[in-house]
């Protein structure tokens, strides 16, 4: 993968380095690369949950999502020497995971990001999750509100929620919207979500 270009120029400072997850991931990555083989375990445990949500945002089924995450980690092993700044390893991983997700979605002809099938594949929650949600009314309310959003909004918010610093250029291509509209769209999606939450509170 040739993701080095995006990652090497991570954009505005910074946010990322101040994030404890990014800092810890950078340390583990550096130690692993300099020969402490066991450190990769810690890195995988730390970052995989984030990758899971980023990948699932693209509408992949659970098994597909697992495959994408495995592919992403194998790519890291292959590309370890190409990552110049260890602090960007989380960005590298999330970018790679998003591109691989997008590749799988496209290969599967699910090119339309608002495809109903996509909604169905990623939208369902497990019975266990429903039960848990009932015990957390705020959480359930938020879940229902998010469920009422457009697929595009849901995807955008989920990717942003789990990426400290998503690169908007590639995000724009994958979500089929102009780069300049990501910021405003994000704002509109948040407004819409707040509106839905207020509405449900009243109703």
């Amino acid at each position: 993968m040739s993701d080095g270009d995006t990652v090497r120029n991570p954009g505005p400072p910074d946010h990322g380095e101040a994030d404890p997850l990014w800092a810890r991931a950078g340390e583990l990555f550096e130690e692993w690369r300099s020969g402490r083989a066991g450190r990769i375990d810690g890195l995988v445990r730390l970052v995989s949950p984030v990758l899971w949500h980023v990948v699932r945002a693209y509408g992949l089924g659970r098994e597909e999502a697992e495959d994408v995450i495995q592919t992403t980690w194998l790519a890291l092993v292959r590309s370890r020497d190409g990552i110049h700044d260890p602090r960007t390893v989380v960005a590298w991983l999330t970018t790679t995971a998003r591109r691989e997700s997008w590749r799988v979605v496209k290969a599967d002809s699910r090119v339309d990001p608002v495809d109903d099938e996509v909604l169905e594949r990623a939208g369902g929650s497990s019975p266990a999750a429903e039960a848990t949600a009932e015990q957390h009314l705020d959480d359930a309310r938020l879940w229902r509100a998010v469920d009422s959003l457009s697929e595009r909004c849901r995807r955008l918010l989920r990717v942003i929620a789990f990426s400290a610093r998503p690169d908007y250029v590639h995000l724009a291509a994958e979500l089929q919207m102009p780069v300049g509209s990501i910021g405003p769209t994000r704002g509109r999606c948040l407004d819409k979500l707040r509106g839905l939450l207020d509405e449900k509170e009243v109703g």
């Binding site: 505005p12 946010h15 020969g35 402490r36 083989a37 066991g38 990769i40 375990d41 995988v44 445990r45 995989s48 949950p49 899971w52 949500h53 699932r56 659970r62 697992e66 995450i69 495995q70 980690w73 194998l74 092993v77 292959r78 990623a122 929650s125 497990s126 999750a129 848990t132 949600a133 957390h136 705020d138 959480d139 938020l142 879940w143 998010v146 918010l157 989920r158 942003i160 929620a161 789990f162 610093r165 998503p166 948040l190 979500l193 707040r194």
Partner: protein, 152 residues
Amino acid sequence: MMPNPDDAQLFASLRTMWERHDPMPEHLVEDVLVALETRHLAEEYRELLLMSDARELTGARGEAPRILEFGIETVTLLLRIDSDGDRHRIDGWLAPPRTGRAALERDGEVVAEAEISPEGRFEFPDASAGSYRLVIRSVDDDGHSVTGEFIV
């Protein structure tokens, strides 16, 4: 990228919600680690190079054990060869240690196999003189990696 503190709070709630409703499968991390171990091991050992070949000067006699060291940046393999006439005992140490199997090959055929202990140790107690390759496989690994040839 999230200048509004209310936005940050809302994103935090969203994260919690998604983590609860769609958690990562529990087995995923272990699956990834197995895949990495397999791949990583194969990549590391493919390049193992002979770094030194020396006699251990423990005694004045000619039968001092011979120490071969193979390595790259992240892995070292030591072989200690004790000879008694034309029988040879080979002890191996992998550092950092990892389990798997070691196979001794001669003319492309496996002549002996040994388990690698959790401490990274393995042994071939009785090898005859000749030219060998040592093949290290991690657990469940299809691929393998090979050290350079060495002569006993």
